[in-house]
Structures are given as C-alpha cells and as structure tokens.
C-alpha cells in the first residue's frame, strides 16, 4: 500500500539515496535537498511503501506569485509503472491550485519521452527547448507549462434554437454574453421555423463571436477552450454551431468541449452575478426546473459535471410552445409569453378551471414529474370556439389569466413535489419562460410556503445564451474532464445524463 505524505528532515537520507540513483550525472547535493525540504515556498512529498520511501516530489510555489514549478519527481526503479509518479504529480498540482498558481512550469529531459507523456496527459504543453541544459550529458531540456484551469477562459457557442449566443467566461467570471436573435423573423409564423433559425445562425455566427471577443477584451489566442451546445435542440440549428466550434478549435489549437444545453442552463447560475431571486452561491444538490419554448424539464442536479438526473419532462408541447399556441388562439402575436402576460393582467385567474396535465392519481403513477400541455391547449381552444359559436365575445383576459395560472400551477406543483419527495429543499429556475412574471411571483410564494430556497438567475442568463455553455465547459475543465472528440455530432435528443458529448 503506497501512500503520500509531506517530507520531513528525517526523510533526507532516503531522498538523498534516491536522488543519487535516479539522477547519477546531475544529482542535487544533500545540502540543497535539505534546504528544499524545509523551504517556506516549497512543498515536498514522499511516497512510502510500508515504511520505505519509494519516491519523492517537490514543488516550488511562492504564495502570491501566481506561479509554480515542479522541481523534481523521482520514483525508485523497483516501484515504477505503478502510477506513483502520476500520483505525486497530481498531488503537486493540487497544491499549486491551492496556492492559486495561475501557471505551473517544469523541465524534463528530452530523452525521457515517458515522463513528457505523463506531463502532457496533465495538460502540460511544450513552450521551449533549452539546448544542452542537462550536463555533463548535453541533453536538451524541454520546458513545459500548464495553465491553472480552475479558471479556464472559455468561449461558448449556443445555437440550439433561435438565439445565436456567444459567451466568454473565465471560470465563474462572466466576461461577455452576446446574443443575436432571429425571433422577429419567426413572428409571422407563430413559432420558431427551424430552417429560418438555422439560416440566421449562419449569418450571425462570426459577427457575434467577434462582438463577444470585443466585449470581453480577449483574443482568440488567449482562450483555453472552445465550447458548443451539441444538444438537445433543433438539429439543423445545432449543426451550425458544432461545425463552427470544431473549426475554430482546430484553427486556434484549442481543446473542443461539446456540452449539454439543459445542464448549461444550470451552469449559468455559477457565473458571478446578482441572482434575480436567491442569495449567495448555488448549492447542490438542487432541483432544477427548465422551462422554455423547446423544453420543460425537471432535473435533480447532485453534481454539475458528473451527476445530473432527468426526473421528468414534457410528453408533448413545451410550456413556452403552449404559450405561443394559446396566444394564436386568442389572436395575440408571437412570442406568446409576454402577450399572454399582458392580456392576463386584467383577467381573473380563477374564472375558468383549465385542466392540469398529468396530475390525476393514475397519471401520477407513471408520470409523477412529467408534464403535458396539449390537453390544456385543446381545452382553451374549446372554450374559445364555444364563445364564438354562441356569438359571444371571447373573454381574452380571463382565458389568458386562467391558462397562465394552469401552466404555472402544474409547473410548480411538480417541481415542489420533487423537492419534497427527494428531500432537496432547493429549486433553481431556468429557461426563457422564467421571463414570465407570474411564474416568478408564484414560485417565490410557493417556495416560501414549502420552505424551499428558490434561485432565479438574471433573465439574460435564463434565456438561451453562450455564457452558460462556456460556464459548464469551464467547470468540466476544472474537474479535469478531457476534451470531446472532434467526431461528436449534433444530437437533437441528447439526454441530460450526457453532460459532455
């Protein structure tokens, strides 16, 4: 059983012996080693097997300097190939992160490709060669560097629906969130037309990237990664973003991260911002209710980058889609959400008892956390047709208010049931429908009554945007997840369990 512990002066004999054997031609002196072990800016570890020192490693990382150097890693011949070197390196890198080092450097002999491969696997890149650095052998030193990717600078591309969103973040810091929307072009059709959305993405893409870079004040060369939504969403629209993101990543030599749109909505809440509702930082686990024109999903998020579960989703229309369709029935323009909100202001939400989809006991058995809005839409249509048939004016205000109440009621009832059933007293709202004032007000009231802590990010981060995609990728990078394959495609039905494609 190998374990790692901090080196002490008592280990000097063992370290010195290992140093002499491992680096026969250019070993450090015993005095230097002794000073290093106790140095204030250093961090020396030994790997011990039973009580024998079988490896050691050292880091030089003065606090506040923002930099760290891997000084040495040595493993006894007989103990090699057991992952001890990698474990020592990982421990040094963790300490470098803890000391807030932005960059970690090291030198490795050019005739040691095994070591260089280990360093490359931990994100180190060659930055220079020092000719004949190791004497007397005359072997070159390869200088390598890894950036502290706890705060990765990521550009995110989002094209899953009708918003071309480009965001740039540094870790959890939001630097740019630029959106070009084709919403106006869809207005006359009463809903998003996929082909129109895809054409608009292609037109808007590069100008929006340039604008985001300008706003953030960064260059493409500064980026640590390029991220993109690979799904779920409209296939043709997603493909524009995926094609562009891959090409941008290859052109700039940056890692490529393809991520899940829905989990991105949760990732948006990690960005530094004043939440619309809630305080402090996002706490996990949380229930997340994501409601937009394309999605109505209830998630249990235990860990943003490794553990997201879909509790339920709509089995027909998305909630936002229901707003658009009912708006059309009432002769109101697109998008329906704000129009219904406006019309409902003068209406009585209790005037008409519209159905709450999938809330009957038998439905709850199979669809406890699923949603259905198509029956509600039909009920509204019947109501409108009945009024017209009777020669009466359609009570637009009452219908709008009662419809909206039915949607809001079923959304919150199911979300709060999940909080209660699963013992998770936290609810995060996301998605464009959060722009609906009544949904927010009702959520505040009912969460307070239920003792559930509610969070709503600012609306600019609730609607589809690229910053949330960049934010999720930054978290994946910080957690050490490797980049996505360049072979991943757009997946219009990507499940939430696939946080990274």
């Amino acid at each position: 059983m190998i374990r790692l512990r901090a080196a002490t002066p008592d280990d000097l004999d063992a370290i010195d012996a290992l140093e002499q054997v491992t680096f026969p031609s250019d070993a450090w002196s015993r005095e230097m080693l002794a000073a290093e072990i106790v140095g204030a800016h250093g961090y020396y570890l030994v790997a011990v097997d039973a009580d024998a020192v079988v490896g050691y490693a050292g880091l030089l990382a003065p606090r506040g300097s923002g930099q760290a150097d891997v000084q040495t890693i040595a493993v006894a011949e007989a103990s090699r190939r057991g992952g001890i070197g990698a474990a020592l390196l990982d421990a040094l890198l963790a300490e470098a992160r803890a000391r807030a080092a932005e960059e970690v450097f090291l030198e490795v002999r050019a005739d040691n490709p095994g070591a260089e491969a280990l360093y490359a696997s931990r994100g180190f890149e060659r930055i220079a060669i020092r000719p004949a650095y190791y004497q007397p052998d005359g072997v070159d030193a390869v200088v390598m560097r890894t950036r502290n990717l706890q705060r990765a600078l990521v550009l995110g591309i989002e094209t899953s629906c009708d918003e071309t969103g480009i965001g740039i973040v540094r870790g959890t810091e939001l630097l740019a969130n630029v959106i070009a929307s084709s919403m106006d072009e869809h207005a006359r059709y009463g809903g998003v037309v996929p082909e129109i959305a895809a054409r608009a993405h292609l037109e808007a893409l590069t100008p929006t990237i340039e604008e985001a870079l300008r706003v953030a004040g960064v260059r493409l060369a500064d980026l640590d990664a390029v991220a993109v939504t690979s799904g779920p969403g409209l296939a043709g629209a997603l493909m524009v973003g995926v094609g562009a993101a891959k090409a941008l990543a290859v052109a700039t030599g940056k890692p490529f991260y393809a991520v899940n749109h829905l989990v991105g909505h949760v990732g948006a809440d990690l960005l530094n911002h004043e939440p619309l509702v809630g305080e402090g930082e996002l706490e996990l686990p949380t229930i997340a209710l994501l409601v937009s024109g394309g999605h109505t999903s209830l998630l249990l998020v235990r860990d943003l980058v490794s553990d997201v579960e879909l509790l339920g989703e709509t089995i027909d229309d998305a909630a936002g889609e229901a707003f658009d369709k009912v708006a059309r029935l009432l002769g109101l323009p697109y998008p329906g959400g704000p129009e219904i909100d406006r019309a409902a202001a003068a209406g009585d939400p209790t005037a008409i008892r519209f159905p709450r989809g999938l809330t009957a006991p038998k439905d709850l058995e199979r669809h406890r956390y699923d949603f259905s809005f198509s029956g509600l839409k039909t009920a509204v249509a019947r109501h409108v047709e009945a009024a017209v048939a009777a020669g009466e004016p359609v009570p637009v205000a009452d219908v709008a208010a009662s419809f909206r109440e039915a949607v809001v009621d079923v959304l919150l009832t199911k979300a709060l049931a999940a909080c209660r059933d699963l013992g998770v007293p936290r609810l995060l709202l996301g998605g464009g429908v959060v722009a609906n004032r009544r949904l927010r007000e009702a959520a505040v009231e009912r969460c307070a009554d239920a003792g559930v802590a509610l969070r709503i990010p600012p609306l600019s981060l609730c609607t589809d945007n690229g910053a949330m995609i960049a934010s999720l990728a930054a978290q994946l990078i910080a957690a050490g997840h490797p980049p996505s394959s360049l072979g991943v495609g757009a997946d219009s039905t990507l499940p939430v369990t696939e946080i990274q494609a």
């Binding site: 009463g190 590069t206 493409l220 562009a244 990543a249 039909t378 047709e385």
Partner: protein, 203 residues
Amino acid sequence: MLLAIDTSTGTSVAVVDRAGTRAERTSADTRGHAELIGGFISEVLAEAGVAPDGLEGVAVGMGPGPFTGLRVGIAAARAFALGIGRPVLPVVSHDAVAYGRSEAVLVVTDARRRELAWSRYAAPGADGLPVRLEGPSLVPVADLDVVTSVAGYVRVDAATIDAGLLGLLALARLDAGAQPGPSEPVYLRAPDVTLSTPKKVTP
C-alpha cells in the same frame, strides 16, 4: 496555401497549394457533415504538414446543395478563417466541377425533393477559369430535358464536390485577381414554411 471545404453534397476537405492538392478527405455520405468536418480538417492539416497559421485563407463551396449539410461547411470555413485571421474565399460549388474541363459543360447535382440543381459553362478561356453562362438554378427532375436539350454541352453529374479542385480554383482566381464567389449561401429555395390555420377542436 489554402484550406478548402465543401459540404454541398457529401463532406470534402483539402489542403491545396499552387502545386496541387496536398491532402484531401472526402465522404460521399449525404449526412454526417457535422460529425466529419472537424476530424477531416485536422487530418488534412496534419497530412499536409501545415499549421493553421500557414494558410492564406479558406476556400468554401457556397452551394447549391441541401441546406443542413451545406451550412456546416460554410460555418466551419468562416469560423476557421476567423480563427486564423485570414479571408474566406467563397466558390459556387458547381464551378469546382467545371474547373479543369476543357469543353463546355452542364453540371448537374441533386437538390432533393425531386429537383436537380444545374449550371451551364462555356469552354474555359486562356486563363482556364470556368465561365458560368447560366445557373445555378433548380429544375424538377421530370423537366430536366428542357435543360439538357440545349446542344453543345457535356453533361456532368456530380455526386460529390471535390474540395481539392474547389481549393485550386479559389487559388487560381485569387492569383488572377478574379471576382470572389457569392458571400452568402446559394440556397435557391426560400425556407419551407406553411402558415397553418388552427384546427377546430370542438367535435
């Protein structure tokens, strides 16, 4: 040296220079553009032994072709060009088929929905560049004889567009100071949208 991309039919990516095509990857699959494009770009650069910033620009086929695939290549070309700070060199995809032919040709490609896309070219002049006389336009498959009945043109049906040829043409045009191709995709069709009237639901 250019990177060249065409996704108007299958997916084709190449690196070309003034001596010819240095590396090329082509798939005739009429789907899968988004999956293939990144790997193809990366592979042709590696095979040609060129770094992205060693390229002068990015040639791209602007169509005609089925929209969803076509856009992947154009999006990739624009993003790559942005990434290296070099220009996009747009080319009508049919021009790449006509390039290198010594006779007058009629280029025909599939446009789906029982339609074909076609362009008519005169025999090239001294500069060897294709001279498009008509098109690109659409014609129903059933009416193709209206297009083919014009005598004197060799019909060339292209199942895939070769990005190598497309890139070489873009390079030849660049060197000749010729006009670049269209900056926007050649869709030839308006988005397919029908305004549905809400259905009655009362029985």
